[in-house]
Symmetry: C2
Subunit: 374 residues, 2 copies
């Protein structure tokens, strides 16, 4: 297993604990506040939080999520289509555990990828097949190449939209194409849509709009509600797949924690206020996206144009051979931590989290731009 982002993050944490001042841009952790009205909701749940909740998630919360996404994407989802997990991560891990039960399964992943996908597949003894999105296409994936990568052993194709680390958003016609392809070729189209609210250029369409039993979409409280520590995610998919996932979760972690689930159950009693919150965070993200894009553009630095997500994927200075070396130098000399592109399968790029304070973002940009002759 390759070094993980969280390993890198642990290093920064230890530097901070030792009193060093580090500006962190490694994780795509939104440093935006969760909804202001959440605090009052969580305060109410303590007494009810002691007993076990059922595997797959609290029934009421699952129904609320089914209703929420039914309304949002004009489809008809039921409680049995919803699976709640210990972060979007656990949902992916359990789904891949299920899909890779039969040996020799292949999972198609687009690079640059979220580092966890190949690590998970390796851990679960599956075979990973990488389809490269190219810098010349601004890292937008090639649908023909994806279609050609499908074989009888393909159990799933993982799509991230809005994409982490590149910020690209899959166009609606391509979402439809992939959903149809999944049905036709009988693999699962896993759509990691945890950055659903960060959609700056109005391009994002959930695969739920083209839902069929081969489509599976993942969302998270970490990214949508800035609650990374709470470990809560949810997903919408085929009821038979979800039934089997519940069986696995009941042996792996039982369920996500009750406090987060019960607080969210309260939160979803009134979904109108959520829309306002989403819009506020979108505006925060867009302000930072625009600021970073302008800075890198002005400096003549190559980057992928982020249409969504909360990060920017930037080419390293030509003096450096690889991003590991560059990021190590940035951490050591400039006390800023970035995520080296090797983790995402692109050694000439690094990822910078944008969802930080404007002050820290400007300071981070100032320090990194020194390396580009600015």
């Amino acid at each position: 297993m390759k070094p993980t982002l969280l390993y890198f993050f642990g290093k920064v944490q230890k530097m901070k604990a030792a009193g060093e001042k580090v500006l962190g841009f490694t994780l795509t952790t939104p440093e935006f506040p969760p909804p202001a009205f959440l605090e009052q909701e969580v305060a109410k749940v303590y007494e009810d939080s002691f007993p076990y909740l059922p595997s797959g998630g609290d029934f009421v919360f699952r129904q609320q999520l089914a209703d929420f996404y039914s309304t949002k994407w004009k489809r008809k989802f039921k409680e049995e289509n919803v699976f709640v997990g210990t972060g979007g991560k656990e949902i992916l891990y359990i789904l891949l555990t299920l899909l890779l039960k039969k040996p020799e399964g292949e999972i198609v992943v687009i690079s640059p990828y979220w580092a966890t996908y190949p690590n998970m597949v390796e851990l679960l003894k599956g075979k990973i097949k990488i389809v490269k999105a190219l810098a010349k296409d601004d890292f937008y994936p090639d649908m023909d190449k994806i279609a050609k990568a499908i074989t009888s052993k393909t159990r799933a194709v993982i799509i991230t939209s809005p994409n982490n680390p590149t910020g690209k958003v899959i166009k609606e016609k391509d979402v439809k194409f992939l959903a149809d392809l999944a049905k036709k070729k009988d693999f699962v189209l896993i759509c990691d849509e945890v950055y659903e609210i960060y959609n700056y250029d109005n391009l994002y369409v959930s695969a739920l709009k083209y839902f069929n039993k081969n489509v599976f979409c993942v969302f998270s409280a970490s990214k949508t509600y800035s609650l990374c520590g709470w470990r809560l995610g949810w997903s919408v998919g085929d009821k038979d797949i979800i039934k089997e996932m519940i069986g696995i979760q009941s042996e792996a972690t039982t369920s996500p924690n009750s406090i987060a689930q019960l607080a969210f159950r309260n939160l979803f009693k009134d979904t109108k206020r959520l829309e306002t919150y989403f819009a506020e965070n979108m505006a925060r993200g867009k302000e930072r996206r625009d600021l970073a894009v302008a800075a890198f553009k002005k400096a003549g630095v190559e980057y992928a144009h982020p249409e969504g997500c909360i990060a920017i994927f930037v080419k390293i200075p030509k003096e450096f051979d690889n991003a590991y070396d560059f990021c190590t130098e940035l951490l050591k000399k400039e006390k800023i931590s970035m995520a080296p592109g090797e983790i995402f399968g692109e050694k000439k790029y690094f990822r910078m989290n944008l969802a930080v304070s404007i002050t820290n973002l400007k300071e981070g940009l100032r320090r990194v731009l020194k390396y580009y002759g600015n």
Copy 2:
């Protein structure tokens, strides 16, 4: 995969949701309160709970746990010996994932077993080797039989003490024997000690007292603090094993939720008050153990004498062929839910949770004893 306890529990939840009055004794959920002083601690953590915590657990909390168990068992544990998980269950799942990475691994499990062990091993494509503890020995496991079950493929032996479902506690000399055997034969002795505080006959000794690098002990907030829903567990083991487990957790769930970890970090700032809480719960458990034992004894019913844990393992009436049938009848006719022994590998027994209110316990005993001619 066999039907799980949580599947059964889900059934009862749905009956309750449909308005049926069911007395539940299926899960070993302590219906005792968590520490009264916990509420004020959890109220303080909200603002700090948003960002990710490191995989393996919060550093401060890990150090607190290391200190706590160092003092308790007069050994010297460090932060690096502690791993925190989404319940004791996730810890076991990740440890078994690690130990079964190399193919053809065998895991030795004592029956009657906690249903989850064989289900996990099956899911992780390992081979399970059952060593039967017998009713004639009051279900106390035979050390010679365990030693004989070890082969070069043995990756771990799982011991549960105090035992769920039988309530037996492994004697100190046998704990030492097994810890030495693990070192000599180089397997991991996994000691599931989640019922550590329920030790009615003063027999329980943690394997941490005889710790070596092949010993790994698991504990949980679910059982020790009656916080099943919070999904928090912790463990003490070899630092190299734990380092690898952190790598797996970082890809599977990231970490347990921040609210529980930060609240426990506050809780552990003052461990004296915890001792009082443990003693209170022990007394509650003992009162119920004594009550249930007296009732079954008086009725001439066969059962394993519980020296610890919060359940009693009871022989089904002779009119019934198996516990599934008996428990199904109890649920249907008497509206009480028990856990059928098939789940634990003993089809002539059922398990009854004792950690309920005295009123419910008496009522449950009354309803079940009807089937024994009482």
